[in-house]
């Protein structure tokens, strides 16, 4: 009994923090999504699914959900495309630079999201690297609109998600026996065929994990869509922020948050089912 008392005493301070900073807020968030708000942010206590009904029936909000889902899929695809060669290279190389290259690969993860997004402004802006180069080469007359739109957000997110994807892919590749590919080639398969028929299927668990993590992170990304979207790209996270702090419609902001969590839950469920198939 005394043992349990000291166990509880050691746990209670951290539990109290979790209670006030996590459990209570999340419960309150769900409760508030069932309230109503009128113009000017006045809250009317209620128990109504009205906000959820509004979200599902309003084309504006459905388009935001659709746009966010598409962004998640597109960014995941291009991140996979850009990350796979690097992951395969890092996994196979026996170069003495391997350690340094590995650290360089994940180093962008350690830079804050505001700084990483800002760095893309110096590349994609009207006076940025790309437009400067294209203008100097005489390929264009006017700067291309590379940011303050969906294109800029996509480019920025792909680069930001690359390190996580590479880590997931390398974790998946580590189950791969390099002699298998050699065996396929010895048996007469071209390198390309050996890759498509042997390496790629065996690295599928890493691909699925990496894509899901990327998808989920993009679905909830806020800083990059806000800054590289220039206030013109509306996704789930930016809409939650606007409804909460500008329109002051807290119940609707809470509703969109709950819907975002539901999407997260579906992804986790999907991974559970898919992952289970590979573990066997």
């Amino acid at each position: 009994m005394k043992r349990f008392a000291s166990f509880a005493a050691l746990l209670s301070p951290a539990s109290a923090l979790m209670l006030i900073g996590f459990v209570l807020p999340m419960a309150w968030l769900f409760r508030l999504s069932l309230d109503r708000a009128v113009e000017g942010g006045v809250l009317i206590p209620d128990l109504t699914p009205a906000n959820y009904v509004q979200f599902v029936h309003d084309k504006f909000y459905l388009a935001i959900l659709g746009r966010t889902l598409v962004l998640g899929v597109v960014v995941s695809f291009f991140t996979l495309l850009c990350a796979y060669p690097i992951a395969l290279f890092l996994f196979r190389t026996r170069s003495r630079w391997r350690g340094i290259l590995a650290v360089l690969t994940i180093s962008p993860m350690l830079v804050s999201s505001v700084v990483r997004t800002f760095s893309w402004m110096a590349i994609l802006g009207d006076r940025g690297l790309v437009n400067h180069a294209l203008l100097a080469l005489g390929l264009i007359d006017h700067p291309l609109a590379l940011m303050n739109n969906m294109l800029g957000v996509t480019i920025g997110l792909v680069q930001i998600e690359m390190p996580v994807m590479i880590l997931a892919l390398i974790a998946g590749l580590s189950r791969l026996d390099p002699t298998l590919e050699e065996a396929a080639q010895t048996l007469g398969a071209r390198p390309w065929r050996a890759f498509v028929r042997v390496t790629l299927p065996l690295s599928a668990p890493g691909i699925i994990l990496g894509c899901l993590v990327t998808f989920v992170q993009v679905m909830s990304s806020f800083v990059t869509p806000t800054l590289l979207g220039g206030g013109r790209v509306y996704v789930m996270a930016t809409t939650i922020y606007e409804e909460a702090l500008e329109t002051l419609n807290w119940p609707l902001a809470a509703t969109i948050s709950i819907i975002l969590i539901l999407v997260f839950g579906l992804c986790a469920l999907f991974y559970e089912r898919i992952g289970g198939r590979w573990q066997r």
């Binding site: 043992r3 000291s6 166990f7 050691l10 746990l11 301070p13 951290a14 539990s15 923090l17 979790m18 900073g21 996590f22 807020p25 999340m26 309150w28 968030l29 850009c82 060669p85 690097i86 290279f89 590995a102 994940i106 962008p108 350690l110 830079v111 804050s112 999201s113 505001v114 700084v115 990483r116 800002f118 760095s119 402004m121 110096a122 590349i123 802006g125 006076r127 940025g128 690297l129 400067h132 680069q159 690359m162 390190p163 390198p191 909830s220 806020f222 800083v223 806000t226 800054l227 206030g231 996270a237 939650i240 922020y241 909460a244 702090l245 807290w250 902001a253 948050s257 969590i261 997260f264």
Partner: protein, 260 residues
């Protein structure tokens, strides 16, 4: 074929790493706007940065907040990790999942949820509110690191101390804690960075007279992009690298990344 593959790798690495390099170059500019290459090279960006009182105010809050969050999460997190690792009550795994759950949630949702509750209990725009909000996302790292360290300690040292008559609390302070010093340092660094870099949750909790540096920068960049922000980025990157080197020295970067 081999050359083509190498070229692809080099180009992809350029895509991954170029942004940071470009920011470094644009920081040495006297222009009033962000441009690459700068029209006039110089140290104007850094000079403007030193004159920016908003950034300096934000930095003060961020450092104080980071220190408060680090102390709080180290104390609470170490106690919780010790309870899970040493008492071995059933449900330890569930407890760990509970304490790391905030990391699974979108920060935008957690930020909104904290806003809704803190508005009710009067913690909005307060240092206490910011500390709680940051501690919730910093404590998962601390608990995981400390748990890993506790499970990796040679068990017979604590047993030997007990056999020689030391009380449990004396064993903890004189044997266990000193052995965990590297993990404590790494946990402190990660907790500080988690707080120092946090933007999304913070945006919901700050007030007109209490903002952190990342929030100041976020709001500034929304309206103007200039070399001053590049200069600040360079300073922040150098500081972060300093902290990382600290972790690397005490624990090994790859180990702490792969386990957190």
């Amino acid at each position: 074929m081999r050359i083509a593959v190498r070229l692809v790798i080099v180009l992809l690495y350029a895509f991954l790493l170029a942004p940071i390099g470009i920011v470094g170059l644009t920081s040495f500019s006297n222009d009033a706007y962000l441009a690459f290459p700068p029209a006039h090279w110089g140290l104007g960006g850094y000079a403007a940065l030193l004159r920016n009182s908003e950034f300096r105010g934000g930095l003060e809050v961020s450092v104080l907040l980071g220190a408060a969050v680090t102390l709080l999460t180290l104390a609470l997190g170490t106690a919780a990790a010790f309870a899970i690792a040493r008492f071995r009550f059933p449900g330890g795994g569930a407890l760990l999942a509970f304490f790391t759950a905030p990391l699974l949630l979108p920060t935008i949702v957690l930020g909104l949820a904290l806003l809704l509750v803190f508005a009710r209990i009067g913690l909005l725009a307060s240092f206490t509110g910011l500390t709680i909000g940051h501690a919730v996302v910093a404590i998962p790292y601390v608990i995981r690191l400390m748990l890993t360290a506790l499970n990796g300690l040679p068990p017979n040292l604590e047993e030997a101390a007990a056999t020689l008559g030391a009380t449990p609390s004396r064993i903890f302070w004189r044997v266990t804690l000193p052995l965990m010093r590297p993990a404590l340092l790494a946990a402190a660094a990660l907790a500080f960075l988690a707080s120092f870099d946090e933007v999304t949750i913070t945006l919901f909790l700050v007030g007109p007279r209490l903002t952190t540096l990342p929030v100041e920068v976020f709001r500034y960049v929304q309206n103007h992009a200039d070399p001053q922000v590049s200069a600040l980025s360079v300073v922040l990157i150098v500081l972060t690298v300093g902290v990382i080197v600290l972790i690397e020295r005490s624990l090994g970067l790859m180990r702490s990344v792969s386990r957190s």
